[in-house]
């Protein structure tokens, strides 16, 4: 699965990277972010595009597994 490392970036940059990666990998991707705004925004974006975003938090970093619904 393609990984997007968006740590250290603030909104809306992680969402832009997610969007680009999903266009190239429509089956799904994994995104790593380090702020709540990005977690929430990417989750909303995934839902809007027909995907599901499962989140896992560890030490202030979130891994979002984005898969087709």
């Amino acid at each position: 699965m393609t990984n997007v490392d968006a740590r250290g970036r603030s909104c809306p940059e992680p969402l832009i990277l997610t969007r680009k990666a999903l266009i190239d990998n429509p089956e799904g991707i994994t995104v790593v972010v380090d702020n709540v705004c990005s977690v929430e925004n990417i989750t909303r974006y995934a839902g809007h595009e027909g995907y599901e975003a499962a989140r896992e938090e560890k030490d202030g970093e979130w891994t979002l597994k984005i898969t087709r619904r």
Partner: protein, 341 residues
């Protein structure tokens, strides 16, 4: 024109750069304050501007507001920053009189860019019927522009955010969603013509002197803390509950769609954290409440006016604040500060 992009020179945009209310309290907490009975409104309450009585007939309203660029067009940035600073005077029921520029320019900015920003500011101050009497400019890391504005108000006619009364109608003078539009523009997911709709709203003066002729009880301008954040402040300051009619709240055409796509500024989440516990959201969709928590730059006025004056005030405001609509009413204080119906 050069290819330097104004917004690329700044880390955060517009009212998003604002230091939070909690932080301010901590910073100001133990500073000595001189008590002066002529200071009618100071910063003990979270109001829009301060008011100082000169005589029984006259008080001055003072405010200062400045921020980093929200848009690449320098003239539009100047207009928005000025409209935003002037709005604090209108929100207190005042009439803007004298303004001074506050300007920080960075090395990367060409002269015509700086000139454009100032020109935009002059346009709006002139439209408000006030004069620019000077200012102060320094060099710095990032562009910043705004104004210190002084206005006049009758000491008995000062409007604060804490006088709302049972049965008052609530009027909002601009549609919501500019924070979301600016975020979408940054993500390059918004057409120029669509962004222009948000910029037009931000440039608009909250020229609301018409309020003086009506039984207006409270007023505040909706900015960084969002509609719901400012509504909670008005409710708590007035010891009332504000009941908002969800379907009546004006929004920019694509605000809901962009919110559901996750194009939300960080400030939206801060506002939600701060105010959500005081609001009964009812069954509105998540994207809808996102828009209600969206931080506004140069947002509209939230006005509490006696119910019987509502329609007449709105029709008077049409000339200057053409988007003014009634969005709810004031009720006796209930469990929550704000409820949505």
């Amino acid at each position: 024109m050069s290819d330097v992009k104004l917004t690329k020179l700044a880390k955060c945009a517009g009212c998003g750069a604002k230091v939070g209310a909690g932080m301010l309290q901590k910073l100001l907490g133990d500073l000595p304050v001189k008590n002066d009975p002529a200071l009618l409104v100071g910063f003990e309450r979270s109001d829009d501007a301060s008011v100082y009585r000169i005589s029984d007939e006259l008080a001055i309203v003072q405010t200062i507001d400045f921020f980093p660029p929200v848009v690449d067009d320098p003239v539009r940035f100047g207009r928005i920053a000025a409209a935003n600073a002037l709005s604090d005077i209108y929100a207190m029921g005042g009439e803007p009189k004298v303004a001074q520029n506050v300007l920080m320019i960075s090395k990367a900015m060409p002269d015509e860019m700086v000139h454009g920003i100032l020109r935009g500011g002059y346009e709006k101050v002139m439209e408000a019927g006030a004069v620019i009497s000077g200012g102060h400019s320094i060099h710095g890391e990032e562009p910043v522009y705004g104004l210190a504005v002084t206005g006049f108000v009758h000491p008995d006619r000062v409007l604060t955010n804490s006088g709302a009364q049972d049965g008052d109608a609530l009027i909002l003078t601009k549609p919501l969603g500019v924070g979301i539009y600016l975020t979408a523009a940054k993500a390059e997911m918004l057409e120029d013509e669509e962004l222009a709709q948000a910029l037009d709203q931000m440039e608009r003066l909250n020229k609301a002197e018409a309020m003086l002729a009506f039984d207006v009880h409270a007023c505040t301008d909706v900015t960084g803390f969002s509609l719901l954040g400012h509504a909670v402040e008005m409710a708590e300051g007035s010891q009332k509950t504000l009941e908002l009619t969800a379907s009546a709240i004006p929004m920019l055409p694509k605000a809901l769609e962009l919110a559901s796509m996750g194009l939300l500024p960080e400030g939206m989440y801060r506002n939600r954290n701060f105010a959500e516990a005081h609001v009964e959201l009812g069954n509105v969709a998540l994207a809808f409440s996102d828009v209600l928590f969206d931080p506004q730059t140069s947002g509209g006025l939230l006005i509490a006016v006696a119910q019987q004056d509502c329609d007449a005030l709105i029709s008077q405001l049409q000339e200057t604040c053409c988007c003014a609509v009634c969005i709810g009413q004031v009720k006796a204080q209930g469990e929550k500060a704000v409820i949505l119906r």
